[in-house]
Amino acid sequence: MNVWQFLADFFVNVGAWMGELLSGWGLSPFWVSLIVKVVGGLALAIGPLTAVLFLIWYARKVIGRIQDRMGPTNDGTAAGPFALLQAVADAIKMLTKEFVFPKERDRVVFLIAPVLAVAVAVAVWAVIPFGPQGMQFVDLNIGVFYVVALASLAFFAMLMAGWSSHNKYANLGAFRAVSMIVSYEIPQMLALLVPVMLAGSMGMQGLVRAQEVPFIVMVPVPALIYFLAMTAEVGRLPFEQAEADAEIVAGYFVEYSGMLFGAFYLAEFINNLSASFVFTVLFLGGWRGPWVEQAPVLGLVWISLKAFLVFTLLTFFWGAMPRLRIDHILGFSWKFLTPLALVMLVVVALVDKAVQAAGLTSPWGRAGWLFLANAAVALVTVALLYRAERRQQAAREARRFAIVR
């Protein structure tokens, strides 16, 4: 095997090399596979933690530019070119800060909450496929369902933090977060079912393999629904009710200081990034891209680039969106996204069956019909919204000019 072949499938080859080395030392196959898995898991967990250092810098820079500021600069500091090391300096500062504990806190719960938040955020990465074969920690056949189930543990971390802080703002933040996430989980699950139905698989790898045509082209409306619900799930503006610094200071982690606060901040960024990766797998074709068959390691590049684009979109939202009121947010989920997601589920199922019955088995033919169905539903939705708005406007005018007796 020459160097290029080794590099082409770098991660799998390193794993195989390590396995051979360990069995050369006389270890039993069980211990070899265990050690290789543990080392791989540690390497995987370091990925999001280091990526976040860059992403914090990136988000601050992007938001700065949106708001006509410079963002972090290296003017007069040792932050390196473009202040790239700013986030590193922040991390070091955070690590050396004193912990300030509220007097009435619930000791154990207060300390477990940030640990749980980060652990859950990193655990999502176990099922993300970074390449065709072997470049995934474990290919669960219920991959997407695993991700959704982990989210339920994530908001438990919020609840625990909010309650144990013994602070009204923290409690309010936790309440807002949970009511919002519980509401948005429904359209998210319904939109998630569409790619699962089209791919015939809940496994992440199966979903990517089914996307000869990326699902965002086939079913743009569920993709949009999923994206909005996902934005709410990770608490990004305009759905930033859990933190809302202007109203409830910082929500559920207001009482945390030092690296305990840092843990929540870290978990938030990791959640943003892993949500971007999951969206990429579901709708953007995951690791698919040119030359992946020849060099599987390229899958990592493609999926990272796509996820980075999604993350950038989330950051644009962060910089450009206002914060919606909580009742508007919940109303939007229950009265608009959920019915639309239900309609989309039925429409996609019917059209896909009809297309298969008509014998259109080529991926692009199927995609074309599904796209047309999506466009039709989108047009009808916009027309309905337009009519509803006109009616409301008429009602408002009537009220305004009504004769008060």
Binding site: E104, I142, S152, L153, V178, E185
Partner: protein, 169 residues
């Protein structure tokens, strides 16, 4: 010789039972809810050990994401929950006795029942088991009716809860 499976089973069993004991022993209601989450988590682990990851994820999603979250929210809106007063319940010995008697009866019943002497299934787990389950839930000859009746029941509960909780105008 203890196998790895046995160690993992012991771990999850301890989590489940420890969590269950915590639920009844905790002083604060919020802690009881958290112990309950731990017990649910242990059960999810047991499902994983039985090679049923779908049920493990369901356990996490429904029991922790649904039931436990609702319980905690209900607890959090309860007044004066941060400072538990002296326990108002004074029949501790009687209650323990009743529970013990019930446990002994249940244990006798379980150990006398011969159903448990089933041989362990051999061979691989059926990879299409999940598919079969899904089809059974929607096929009229299997469980379609009970499945739909259950969902109608839940809908009725939802509407009833809304009716009770609605403020009078």
């Amino acid at each position: 010789m203890i196998t790895v499976q046995q160690v993992v089973f012991a771990l999850f069993a301890v989590l489940t039972l420890g969590g269950a004991i915590g639920v009844v022993a905790a002083r604060k209601l919020f802690h009881a809810a958290l112990w309950m989450v731990l017990a649910f988590f242990g059960v999810a682990g047991l499902y994983l050990l039985l090679e049923a990851p779908f049920f493990a994820a369901l356990q996490l999603f429904i029991y922790i994401g649904g039931i436990a979250v609702l319980t905690v929210m209900a607890i959090m809106v309860t007044r004066g929950i941060m400072k538990p007063k002296e326990p108002v319940f004074t029949y501790a010995i009687g209650a323990a006795g009743t529970a013990l008697a019930f446990l002994v009866m249940l244990g006798l019943f379980i150990f006398k029942t011969p159903v448990w002497d089933v041989a362990a299934p051999t061979g691989e787990v059926d990879p299409n088991g999940l598919r079969a389950l899904g089809q059974a839930l929607v096929s009229p000859s299997a469980y379609l009716l009970p499945f739909e009746v259950a969902s109608v029941l839940l809908l009725a509960v939802l509407v009833g809860a809304l009716f009770i909780a609605r403020e009078k105008e």
